[in-house]
Amino acid sequence: MISCKPITQKLTLTFISLIIFSGSKIFSQDGKALFISKCQQCHNVFKEMTGPALGGIESRGPWGDRKELYAWIHNPQGYMEKDPYTQALKAQYNGQVMQAFPSLKNEEIDAIVKYINDTYAAGENAGKSGPGGDKQAEKASSDQNAVIFGVISIILAVIALILMQVNSNLKKMSDDAEGIQRPEPVPFYRNKVYIAMFALIFFVIGGFYLTKGAIGLQRQTNYQPEQPIFYSHKVHAGINQISCLYCHGNAWESKHAAIPSVNVCMNCHKTITEYTGTDKLINGDGEEVDGTAEIRKLYDYAGFDPKNANAWDASKAKPVEWVKIHSLPDHVYFNHSQHVRAGNVQCQTCHGEIQEMDEVKQFSELSMGWCINCHRETKVDFNYKDDKGNKFYSIYEKFHNDIKSGKMDSVTVKDIGGIECQKCHY
């Protein structure tokens, strides 16, 4: 079952991008990306989170003047000293002050504001587009095709069989008519040719499924276990647009993506004590789940009492025993940071439309063929058109020359050794 459609590019275009390049020009979609990576951990366009809702921001406080906004974002602490509006905000949000973003350029802030305004004006949550549907439809249609082809083949085979029988009967009748003596024909179920043919077909088909089954052992595509807390990625990453790396920041640094510890959950859930979303939470069995009750389960693990929030002691928390979904064999070395940070691969490429999943299931089969296929097809940004590529690859002189001379049009992961054994097995 080695099938890898070039979904990578499609997904790249349609879904949330994690890695942001700050190029010389800023486009409006960069505003969205910037918003996702910098702002949405604490802000939403429409509603209040850790920080205020950002929709209509220019009509509030001093933010009509863009320069004020730049100053605030670059250095909130400094700005606040002489600004009563932000001082009031601080009081409103339990004394928490916004994080400083000194490296955010003015154009980038413009792009973010433009995105906020556009989204606010459109009056809908960003990122809720439906290209995932396309893909599903595509997959469904390919499944349907397989069924149709199978049925047609069987019908044709039966027709062929009947025709052969008819043919032999006709022949017998004509022989009888002409008075030619022939031995009594063997019925087809005792015909050795037929038996041999069926045996052969049985072995081929049986062998195919046996082999397929054996290869598929221990593979768990669509594995969707029940988790100790019904945590909805759809609510967090989809509707509320929290960046994947806010919780799984380890994926940026290390081989493990790592499940966030309880104190990371509590960063937000200290204030978000109940589920007020309009989307229903549906578990794998199609039943509705009470989001607020699930948040309370988190509080049990954290040892947090919402009525007495200030008394919470993070060191008393108990870890949540999640059920591991994505498992690789011990002899495989996989590094998240290699893919996410060095390779600029989107989370969704391997984990599917995680932001649409209430309950996470394994999207990819995580087989070697699946890995290899992607390594064959994925292109490495080789620094040949602009300066965005990784400087690490500048030592590949031969490839750079070949690209210049037109011998190669692009370098794939395979070309730099991506399908060699000891890239993953050591």
Binding site: L217, S254, A314, H331
Partner: protein
């Protein structure tokens, strides 16, 4: 003119034809095949039907196992993640390996909360980032299943678990009750300044330092010579001429790591102006250091004083030495003296003797050659090995007389290593309160009333001041695994101070360094250096007395025995460590045993037939009884060339107690009881030994002839400095001849001389260079490789069956006169690992392509693809592939795979290494291989991959030195250099470019295109070696045919 021969075993020298024939057998032991002649197959023990039954069963079992349900796995994150921990990423903490006074500043690699590997600390200038085999192995001690896990006390004969609160109360009271009696703290040398402070503040505590192998002769001699009771620092790098009188300074003497580092600086050669230091060695047996000497002379242990005195006499003529019989030795002394004189101020003499008189003479010699202040630094005296034998001797007498009320013991183990251990044991029963702080149930702890096990150093806070002004810090890298407590805390508590050691240590250093910030910085760097004072000046007063004493010393015996330390085990501290036990000795290549090394002449005398091929081919060695007075020990003998004719050498540190665990128990014999006290110091030799043949055999697991080069000789290249100067292009000529013969049209040996297409590396091409001039055979790299790559321990029984798993081995070649194997000219050590051939013979014989070539020039091995045909190992000309004959690591999914019924059960130590606790030492980035799989050196691919990833993350080109292999990191002599051969500025490329005359590939004529270059060994002698007759003829033959010459 002389001719020479390189050889690894006597069979190779004396019986080359038989050696060739036999070494072609893959299995040297009797194979368990049933004799089927006449009886028919069905009568055999394992007939065909049984075979089919097993086959059917195993297929069904495999199918069952495979169809099992996938287990539900849990992923449990931190409850409250510490800010600076990234799961899956290693952190490095500076700490310090301290064992019995050995001090090595290291960085501990901590992965997900557990230390798994130690690297040398590059900020430490005096070790220059090097490590020793024992320091490398010490991480395994942390996870030793035989560590004491809780405080205990003896009630009657039973050991009862106790609590620290209770013991603090009980012991404090017991100590307080000892009125009128002394309280003694007996320890190995304490190098920790903060601990010395605690001991000094303990009221009425007498501190006695005791070292298993003592240097008190030197300490007292230095005192008599006006330098104070101190050991100096030696600057081997400043010495042009080095004379060692039995000091194994590259192996075990004082601070071998530091000395190897300095020594290397004088031994590396600049080809344009080939100069190197000259090293003379006078010794009794073939030591690690002697093996690396340029000129080597042997004498009996009892002649050590005479040799030193003769050298002094030859230098200044003021003293006359007792006559020496050996003419060669006398000539050697004269030559060394002349060289020393000529290099006054750039010369150094060191002595391994523990005799005050000998060391006094050596001080006089060093004074005569102007070594003080140049090659000997008295301003930075060292703080290790400070034990005075007489202090301990007096203490034991006082214990016996009942004057000692309480004895607190840390790090010392006199019940095992004291010269009169029986007396110590008797005396110990006369001490009312005996407390041991030792981590394990060693021989002394067994006898003590209380045991309060201290932390392993990787769990501790602490400091070590190896030399005055240089302090290396210890910080914990893991939460204590067991209910242990630092012994300093106990001392603090019992002295009435309420604090524990951590607080006291922090306060001590914060005050000393002025601020907490300075302290934190020091902890982070791991090392601080402070300026130093001045040393003493030399007085010659004691020389005359010493000379007289040497003249009248004890008589010479027929056979004499010298007791030495091995690099791995030392005084016995390494005996509990499986990695160290399995590390082959540099000279004998023996593992898991001690034995008596005897000379070839002595073997003839004792009737040991070592000349036949069979002597080394089979592991059984004859056992002799060695008796000194009424003490006896039975040991197998190993015949070693280049030994003093009448000297027998036996290693100390073996024969440990049963309670120390499966690794140490039953391995070798303890010979500490044979050492003697001469009234001032302990003598590590005996002169009147009688030898009796026991007419039985004992198996010794040696690795030296496990791998055969099938008679090919171009494996090692070695020459003398004089020959190299005269004819610098010998090696280059050979390589040019290959081009002439095989690449006539293009001159490109690489491309033209093969049918196979060339491998292309578009980006990085990894390569390695090994300088054989800087390899002294210490084995730190072998142990580092063990730790880094999860190389399994196989135990003695499996080493005996040639199943050792070392990915990196150090081949030892004796260089001797062609006609006289005993005329040893030198020893060559050659680290041998996978050569990562670009035209690898292993790759094209693998039927499943489990081994193939990467685009970075690495010969890669996919374990999960391997089906275990072993074709690759058989086709490897370097014999570096290792096959997992058994499930040594417990990695298989089948539960009882380690239970071998038919042949060869595994040693208990293999199972000990499989313990859940011990397995914590495994490197999670490296696959743990299972049974039936081939494995070998990967060029530490996990490190190259990590380095590349770091460079990509930081958006930069890979820098030279980003990726270091474990062996390279561990090496004290920087013999191994690894890097990108495509980077013209890398250290590797520079070495290759600057050393064309010494560079060679092993077996280059086979056109396997290795990626490891070696630099030929050069010995600094005047001898001109003309080996046209032997080697070159053979080489020409091979160069012409590519085939080894048939005899």
């Amino acid at each position: 003119m002389s001719q020479k021969k390189y050889w690894q075993s006597f069979g190779e020298v004396n019986d080359p034809e038989n050696f060739q024939k036999k070494s072609q057998d893959e299995f040297r032991e009797e194979l368990p095949f049933e004799d089927i002649d006449g009886k028919g197959l069905l009568d055999a023990k394992a007939p065909r039907r049984d075979f089919l039954k097993y086959l059917g069963f195993s297929t069904a079992a495999a199918a069952m196992a495979a169809s099992c349900k996938t287990p539900v796995r849990k992923a449990i994150p931190f409850a409250n993640k510490p800010e600076n921990i990234i799961p899956g990423e290693a952190k490095y903490y500076a700490t310090t390996y301290v064992q019995d006074g050995d001090v090595v500043p290291v960085l501990a690699k901590v992965r997900d909360g557990r230390p798994i590997k130690l690297e040398g600390n590059n900020l430490s200038l005096y070790t220059n980032g090097g490590t020793t085999a024992r320091a490398q192995a010490s991480v395994l001690d942390l996870y030793d299943t035989n560590r004491n896990r809780f405080p205990s006390r003896k009630v009657g004969n039973k050991i009862e678990e106790s609590t620290y609160e209770f013991l603090d109360k009980t012991i404090s009271a017991a100590i307080a009750a000892q009125t009128g009696k002394q309280i003694v703290f007996l320890s190995s040398t304490i190098v920790s300044p903060s601990t010395r402070d605690i001991i000094a503040k303990f009221p009425n505590l007498r501190h006695v330092q005791y070292d298993a192998v003592s240097y008190s002769g030197m300490l007292l001699a230095n005192e008599a010579s006006g330098f104070g009771r101190k050991l100096p620092s030696y600057n081997f790098e400043a010495a042009k001429v080095i004379v060692s009188l039995g000091a194994d300074f590259l192996g075990t003497w004082l601070s071998p790591l530091e000395y190897a580092n300095g020594y290397t600086k004088g031994r590396k050669i600049n080809e344009k102006n080939p100069e190197m230091s000259k090293h003379y060695q006078f010794e009794c047996h073939l030591s690690n250091t002697g093996a690396n000497a340029d000129e080597r002379f042997t004498h009996r242990p009892s002649e050590a004083g005479a040799v030193a005195l003769a050298l002094l006499g030859a230098l200044d003529g003021t003293v006359t030495a007792p006559a020496l019989a050996d003419a060669k030795l006398k000539a050697g002394i004269a030559k060394a003296a002349a060289d020393l004189k000529a290099n006054s101020g750039r010369a150094l003499v060191v002595s391994g003797s523990n005799d005050i008189n000998v060391q006094t003479v050596v001080n006089a010699i060093n004074n005569a050659i102007g070594a003080n202040g140049t090659t000997i630094d008295w301003t930075r005296p060292v703080n290790y090995r400070q034990g005075i034998d007489k202090d301990v001797h007096d203490l034991v007498s006082q214990m016996e007389s009942g004057a000692i009320g309480a004895l607190l013991i840390y790090g010392a183990n006199p019940a095992y290593d004291y010269h009169d251990a029986e007396k110590f044991k008797r005396a110990l029963t006369r001490v009312p309160v005996t407390v041991s702080f030792t981590e394990r149930w060693d021989e002394t702890t067994e006898l003590c009333g209380y045991n309060l096990p201290t932390h392993h150093y990787l769990e501790s806070w602490g400091d070590a001041e190896p030399k005055t002004g240089i302090t290396s810090f210890i910080q914990p890298t893991i939460y204590p695994l067991f209910k242990t407590r630092p012994y300093q805390t106990s001392l603090l508590k019992w002295s009435g101070t309420g604090t524990d050691y951590e607080a006291s240590f922090k306060a001590f250093w914060s005050t000393k360094l002025g601020s907490e910030d300075a302290f934190n910085k020091a902890l982070q760097d791991g090392i601080i250096m402070e300026s130093v004072g001045t040393g003493g000046s030399y007085t010659s007063g004691a020389v005359t007395t010493a000379a007289t004493a040497i003249g009248t010393q004890k008589k010479v015996g027929k056979h004499e025995v010298v007791f030495y330390e091995t690099v791995a085990i030392g005084g016995g501290a390494g005996a509990t460590n499986p990695w160290l036990q399995e590390l082959p000795d540099a000279i004998t290549k023996a593992t898991w045993d001690n034995y008596a090394m005897i000379s070839m002449a002595k073997a003839d005398e004792l009737g040991v037939n070592y000349k036949k091929m069979e002597y080394e081919y089979y592991p059984q060695k004859p056992v002799f009884e060695f008796a000194i007075g009424n003490k006896k020990v039975e040991l197998p003998v190993l015949v070693i060339p280049g030994m003093n004719k009448d000297t027998i050498a036996i290693a100390v540190g073996y024969g440990r107690g049963e309670k120390l665990g499966k690794t140490a128990a039953g391995v070798g014999q303890n010979v500490f009881p044979f050492t003697t006290f001469n009234g001032n110091t302990v003598d590590y030799y005996a002169t009147d030994v009688t030898i009796t043949d026991m007419h039985r055999k004992h198996k010794i697991a040696q690795t030296q002839i496990h791998n055969s080069y099938e008679g090919r000789v171009e494996v090692v290249r070695e020459t003398t400095l004089a020959t190299f100067k005269k004819n610098p292009n010998l090696i280059l000529d050979y390589r040019n001849k290959l081009v002439e013969n095989y690449a006539k049209s293009t001159g490109d040996f690489r491309k033209e001389a093969t049918l196979y297409p060339d491998h292309v590396q578009p980006g990085i091409k990894w390569g390695m260079s090994v300088d054989m001039n800087a390899c002294y055979g210490c084995g730190a790299c072998v142990v580092a490789c063990h730790a880094e790559n999860n190389v399994p321990v196989v135990g003695k029984s499996e080493v005996l069956r040639y199943h050792d798993m070392h990915w990196l081995r150090i081949d030892r070649y004796f260089v001797s006169d062609e006609h006289n194997a005993d005329d040893l000219k030198g020893v060559v050590f050659q680290p041998m690992m996978c050569q990562h051939c670009d035209n690898a013979p292993c790759e094209n014989v693998c039927p499943v392509a489990a081994t193939n070539h990467s685009s970075e020039g690495i010969n890669q091995m996919a374990y999960n693809r391997c089906i275990g045909t072993r074709y690759c190992a058989n086709n490897c000309p370097f014999k570096v592939r290792r096959f997992n004959w058994s499930d040594y690591t417990g990695a298989d999914s089948f539960p009882d795979n380690q239970d071998q019924q038919l042949v060869g059960k595994l040693d208990p130590v293999v199972f000990q290494m499989n313990d859940e606790l011990t397995r914590m030492v495994l490197n999670p980035d490296v696959t743990v291989r299972s049974r039936g799989v081939m494995e070998k050196c990967t060029f530490c691919v996990q490190r190259t991959q990590a380095a590349k990833l770091d460079a990509k993350k930081e958006n930069r080109i890979l820098a030279d030195g980003d990726a270091k292999t474990a062996c390279q990191q561990a090496c004290a002599g920087d013999a191994i250099v690894f890097g990108n051969a495509h980077d013209q500025n890398s250290q590797l490329s520079q070495i290759r470019a600057n050393n064309p005359q010494r560079s060679f590939y092993v077996l280059e004529q086979l056109h396997v295109l290795p990626n490891v270059t070696y630099l030929a060994k050069v010995r600094n002698t005047d001898e001109i070696i003309e080996d046209k007759h032997h080697a070159t003829k053979k080489e020409e033959h091979e160069a012409a045919t590519g085939e080894p010459e048939k005899h």
